[in-house]
Amino acid sequence: MCIDCGCSTDPGHDHRHAHAHDHEHEEKTSRTIRIEEDLLAKNNRLAANNRARFAAAQLLVLNLVSSPGSGKTSILERTLTDLKDKLDFAVLEGDQQTSNDADRIAATGMPVKQINTGTGCHLDAHMVGHGVENFKLQGIDILMIENVGNLVCPASFDLGEDHKVVVLSVTEGEDKPLKYPQMFQAADLLLINKIDLLPYLRFDLEQCKSFARQVNPLVEIIELSCHSGEGMTAWYDWLTQGVDRKRR
């Protein structure tokens, strides 16, 4: 039985029961109930529980979001390999199907748990709460949550992370921040990936950064290539500073 969400009970069951009395019911009239509850209230409550658990373990938690194929898993593979002597990671991998990404992360030697969402287009706080049951949180510096590749839906769902990190690769076009403003507004850091390909593309890097700032003036931006390694040091510094802040 899960204390946070009570999910061992079937949330959809219908509790119809026989009446223990045989009198006639009075004629019912309809009435209006005022509610004023956010549709994300349940997710937000579970996310707050996650956040409290992560804070108790002084864990830096990042929610990596992007369109499919931007290089989230490749960035993680390289990051985990390069930093494995300095920091301990755990990774939650969200995909609709397959354990391909988890297998790639497992090859780095770091603990990983695959969450398959089936038809679901995003991770939610409930899945993450159960996903981390596989990890010993106290021994981890950074929990990386790789969300389902989708620039729309994951923007609305708080998982209890410290920061959303949005990855945009230069093969996708510089106007993505304007097309998917919710996601770029929700992120604290934008990683512009695959910059080694810039000489072969008509991608206007400055225009892209300007578009990102139009929807999120405070977003931090790091340009990198997890293939060539360019810019990765700035990303590693950002991670290390985040971990230091957690330990203070």
Partner: protein
Amino acid sequence: MHELSLTQSIVELAIEYARREQAAAIRSITVEIGALSGVLADAVEFAFDVCSKGTMAEGASLEIVHISGRGRCLECHEESELETLTYTCPLCGSLALETVQGQEMKFTEMEVD
């Protein structure tokens, strides 16, 4: 299609409140969805029939109230209508627009028997 999980929340909330109020049936459900919330009202409507099927909310009518987007500029202090999420003031061009309305996705009321 995160509308599917949001609609699931609508149905769960409706049933929870109906039980708390010891209602016999749910007639209608009203939700507010803002233009800047990233939620497609049509998709919620479509998902509602599927999500409510076999529950106490089956057959209830779903009313979706559209809330338009509004921003207020911290530079020129003017308010403007917004169709998309942005920080750029459409009137003076400053990167200083605060969203004041339109991000709602809220269960507001229901009618029960």
